[in-house]
Symmetry: C2
Subunit: 118 residues, 2 copies
C-alpha cells in the first residue's frame, strides 16, 4: 500500500494533446534513421555543401569506412525520406529533403511534443 494516499494530480488521464500512436510510429521511424553518428554527419556534410548536394565520392572521402558501408547509410536515409538521390552520369548525387528535417524540428519545438505536421 502507498505510504501517502494518491493526490489529486495523480492518475489523472493526460489531455488529448499528446502524440497519437500512429504519429509516434512515423516520427520514431524518421528518428531511427537519423540516430546514428555516421548518418548524422552524412546529412550534415550534404546540407553544408556549397551546392546543397554531394556526390557519393565527396561523402566517401569524409569517412574511414568502406564505400559499401557509406552507401548502406545513404540508402537508409533515402528510404526514410531524409535524402533525395539523383543519378547523373556515373555518379549518384544526394540532396537533403528540408521538409524531413523541418518535421523533426517541429515535433521537438512543440510544447506538447505532439508535432505540427502529418
Amino acid at each position: 500500500m502507498p505510504e501517502n494516499p494518491v493526490d489529486d494530480d495523480c492518475c489523472t488521464p493526460a489531455d488529448g494533446a499528446a502524440m497519437s500512436a500512429g504519429r509516434a510510429a512515423e516520427v520514431a521511424a524518421l528518428l531511427k534513421a537519423l540516430a546514428d553518428p555516421v548518418r548524422l554527419r552524412l546529412v550534415s556534410l550534404i546540407a553544408s555543401s556549397r551546392t546543397g548536394e554531394a556526390c557519393v565520392c565527396d561523402l566517401n572521402a569524409g569517412f574511414d569506412l568502406t564505400q559499401a558501408t557509406v552507401s548502406h547509410h545513404l540508402k537508409v536515409l533515402q528510404t526514410a525520406g531524409v535524402l533525395d538521390r539523383e543519378k547523373r552520369g556515373v555518379w549518384a548525387y544526394y540532396r537533403v529533403r528540408p521538409e524531413a528535417l523541418a518535421a523533426v524540428a517541429d515535433v521537438f519545438s512543440s510544447p506538447s511534443l505532439a508535432g505540427a505536421r502529418a
Copy 2:
C-alpha cells in the same frame, strides 16, 4: 571507369560547417533514446500534462504494456537526459527537460545541421 569525367563540383571537400564526429555521437545518443514510439508517446504525455509532470501511474494507464516495460522506457529517457525523475512518497514523478528537446529542435533547424548547442 566513369563515362563522364569528374566535374568541378565533384569531390570537393565539404566546408568546416559540418557536424563534428563528437557532436554527432552526442546527438545520435539523444535521438536513439527518442527513436521509439512508446518513448515518444511517454515524453508527449508528460509534456502535455496539465501540471507539466506525470506520475508513473498516469503513464502506465496510457499503454497496453507491463509496468516493468514502461519503467524501462522511462529509465532510458532519464539516462539520456530527456526526463527528470523525482520520488515523492511512493510515486515517482517525471518531468521533461526542455533543454533536451530544444537541443534536438536546434540541430534540425540549423541549415547545415551542425547544431547550435554543445
